[in-house]
Amino acid sequence: MKIKLLFSGIAANCLVVAAGAMLTPASEAQTSNSLRSAESFQSISDERARSVALFEEAGKVIQHPRCVNCHPATERPLQGMAMHLHQPPVFRGEGGMGLVGMQCNTCHSEQNTPVIGQADTLKSIPGNPAWHLAPIEMAWEGKTLGQICVQLKDPKRNGDKTMEEIVEHMAHDDLVGWGWQPGDGREPVPGTQEEFGKLIQAWVNTGAACPSS
């Protein structure tokens, strides 16, 4: 399907922002929304320790519900900062695109769609041209950052990617990038995709060491 303009006027957007701020749960407000730069880790002289620290910083993104919700460990994606099961109940299906008759694109579009005049806790339906679940072998739900780290380096569990391809994916993939543009009413992952990409690049450059837990 073709997508054209979707945004309302500036005034309406301002209101949405104001309403969103009022309704943001405490847990969301407390979450840091910035990333340290890759350069700022230079002070850690031990390369392995630096590598682990870089990955832990990137972990603020990786373990953010915006990312984990679509890297579920079961057949069902999660939703929201509380990471509850997706409602309505949808299932992985072929290629992570949902089941026949109720695929992701029954509701999700190629871009975030504002919901106007309805629930104040549901201001938009998220969307992206590639909207789908990560394969089950790439599940992050319920895993520690250390486990996710090891998994990311394992070609059997990272989509057979080289580390260069991992960096490219993290730094430039459009669906990964959705995490920073999640639509009205949703907290974005911290920092920017560029900063995140640089953290991952620096982590790879320093030997891609993993946290112990």
Binding site: K4, L5, V90, F91, V100, T106, S109, T113, V115, Q118
Partner: protein, 152 residues
Amino acid sequence: MVTFTLNGEQRTFDGDPDTPLLWVIRDFEKLTGTKYGCGVAQCGACTVHLDGMPRRSCITPIAMIDGSDVVTIEGISGKEAEAVQAAWKGLDVPQCGYCQSGQIMSAVALLQILPKPTDDEIDGAMAGNLCRCATYHRIRAAIHNAAKSMEG
């Protein structure tokens, strides 16, 4: 100006581009079989076929569907539609009936791809369609009956 086909006829819309397809179908095209139930893609009462696939019209801004093909309950046809509607009548599925257009649109789309779905496949395809009367038990049976009727 958005141009699309609705039940085979070319239509245009030049109102607010944010207007969800649901309200274009109902308020402007005066086709009322497609229902409003939640406005947030939770209940499925507004389900239509967009380029042959089930789609919740309540969260589909009209600007998004330029050039697309929209079919509503008033426009469905073909053996799956006939089988589903006959099966619905055979089991007297509807109670209040308000959600049933959406249920039928989802069921028809399912059978167009999976002519003989299992219970799990039915549940998977239909879990986005709420029925507060809880006619689910008969919906499941009616889809099986429709599938059987198409075998012959």
